[in-house]
Symmetry: C2
Subunit: 311 residues, 2 copies
């Protein structure tokens, strides 16, 4: 049975340096290629937190140094991270396919994701990006550049940007065309480059779209059968790290909501994953979301492990 | 008559800052969309000299600063530049199409270009990249990192990397699949990310592939009818800037070679453009290369201007 599967990989699973990333993508490629070898269509989405943070930091540092490189807006840093991560991922998947005698094209599509400029998230920026500053520096940056700066867990002040919801994937027709040709596509890197509509133009905005929400939106738009959200654990738990801890094999939307209301899932961690899974599973009958670890993805698709979320 | 056209745009035409680039791509988009509106299939390739230089400089600067971002290899900087430039180009072309009521998907494919590790260029690095250093710094970098450092026109010492010839475009099947679906593709940015083959793996190498040679190779591989190499002038000249200056409307390969032998075309400027045009025109009967300016591309395709190079 051939399924169309969007796999969402975390940016933390890609390491903090190019050497680490080159090493880690080889590990990532194996379970992905297992799914392809089992006959599925695979679209790989990925996070970019550490990577876009590094690029943004380097660009900011160099722009105020003697090098005087230009200031680089945050959406452009996101576009760079898609090229950087896509290059390594497409290579690793291609090589793993070849090792198994499969010649299937793999490519990265630079992806923009439309957000609504009226999204309430723009009134309440929450995602910290870039360097840490002293309070005095933060006040100065805030007044000079209009950035929102907040104190971050006692480590200093950082810029925060909004995290709006994805509305559309601009390059969806390109992604579809490649899937129809049985190609492997890497897309919506880092949740996509966030853009808003200004008449015929799309304009980049400094924001971070949650990569699981963006992956769920992509999965919906390309009519995927499965959304696999990869995380550090094999299954979702309630009462996590308590004596009542219970690992879950299946939740319907009602159960998900009940556990969310009871506060079982940590914001910024398991909560957005469960919510993204609910978005996709709730978008049409038959659509299934699976939350599991990278190594268990293939078993999970066979129904042997992971937490399945359905309507 | 519908032609398949690869257009090669210079990196210098994209400016030195993100603001300049955003502005310039709007200008670039118009003649490109003229070709699409005339019914042609268009694949856009582009240079990245100033852009990858900026990214490389920022990454190097930040890596030796207090920010301590990781050192970024040159091929990865090239991948970043493809995301950065592709984001702006795909947006500008999309908007220009919409302004003319055309809804055609436009996308950037992160592109690797295979080079031969036995290419003699690797014995003789010639392309300067990154910062300027003093002689003492250059000697130290050369011994620490094994880079080749050379004196650059009295301005200091710089790293030089090889400029090998393109052998294959790794993502050609992806590019073809999108053309077959009548989509506009941006590819081989900066001449492509240079990679060599190590068994099943592709490994990035610090090198710069000439974007006109890479565009000619792509045009050949996807069986294009036309290669348009954009430059600052409307036509190629012999005796350029002399009393005998003569602008050329057409050259066959024999004439090209004669003028090359007579030293009419400047190395690093018009010479590689003429050579890339010859490569494509010579690859199969009927293939035509046109060297002209951005603004004259549409007229050139109609045979009204530019320098046509044919077998």
């Amino acid at each position: 049975m051939k399924d169309r599967i969007v796999v969402a990989l975390g940016g933390n699973a890609l390491g903090n340096t190019p050497e680490e990333q080159l090493h880690l993508v080889k590990h990532t490629a194996k379970p992905i290629v297992d799914l392809i070898q089992a006959g599925h269509e695979v679209i790989l989405a990925h996070g970019n937190g550490p990577q876009v943070g590094m690029i943004n930091l380097a660009m900011t540092t160099a722009s105020v140094s003697a090098s005087k490189t230009p200031e680089m807006p945050f959406p452009e840093c996101g576009a760079m991270s898609q090229g950087y991560i896509g290059f390594h991922l497409q290579n690793a998947i291609r090589a793993e396919l070849l090792r198994r005698d499969m010649t299937i094209p793999v490519a990265t599509v630079v992806t923009q994701v439309l957000v609504d400029e009226k999204d309430p998230a723009f009134e309440n920026p929450t995602k910290p990006i870039g360097s840490f500053y002293t309070k005095e520096e933060a006040v100065q940056i805030q007044s000079e550049k209009g950035y929102t700066m907040v104190e971050d867990a006692g480590r200093g002040y950082r810029r925060v940007v909004p995290s709006p919801k994805p509305v559309d994937v601009v390059e969806k027709e390109t992604i579809k065309a490649l899937i129809h040709q049985d190609q492997v596509v890497i897309a919506v890197g880092g949740g996509g480059i966030p853009v808003i509509k200004k008449e015929h133009d799309l304009v980049g905005v400094p924001a971070v779209i949650d990569k699981d929400f963006a992956s769920a939106k992509l999965a919906e738009l390309i009519d995927a059968d499965y959304l696999i959200i990869l995380t550090a654990v094999e299954k979702v738990a309630i009462g996590y790290n308590t004596p009542e801890e219970k690992w879950l094999s299946h939740m319907d939307l009602q159960t998900c909501q009940k556990y969310i209301d009871e506060g079982h899932f940590a914001p910024g961690s398991m909560l957005p994953k469960v919510q993204a899974a609910m978005n996709f599973a709730g978008s049409k009958k038959g659509r299934r979301a699976l939350i599991t670890s990278l190594d268990k993805a293939s078993e999970g698709i066979l129904g042997h492990t992971g937490t399945l979320i359905t309507l």
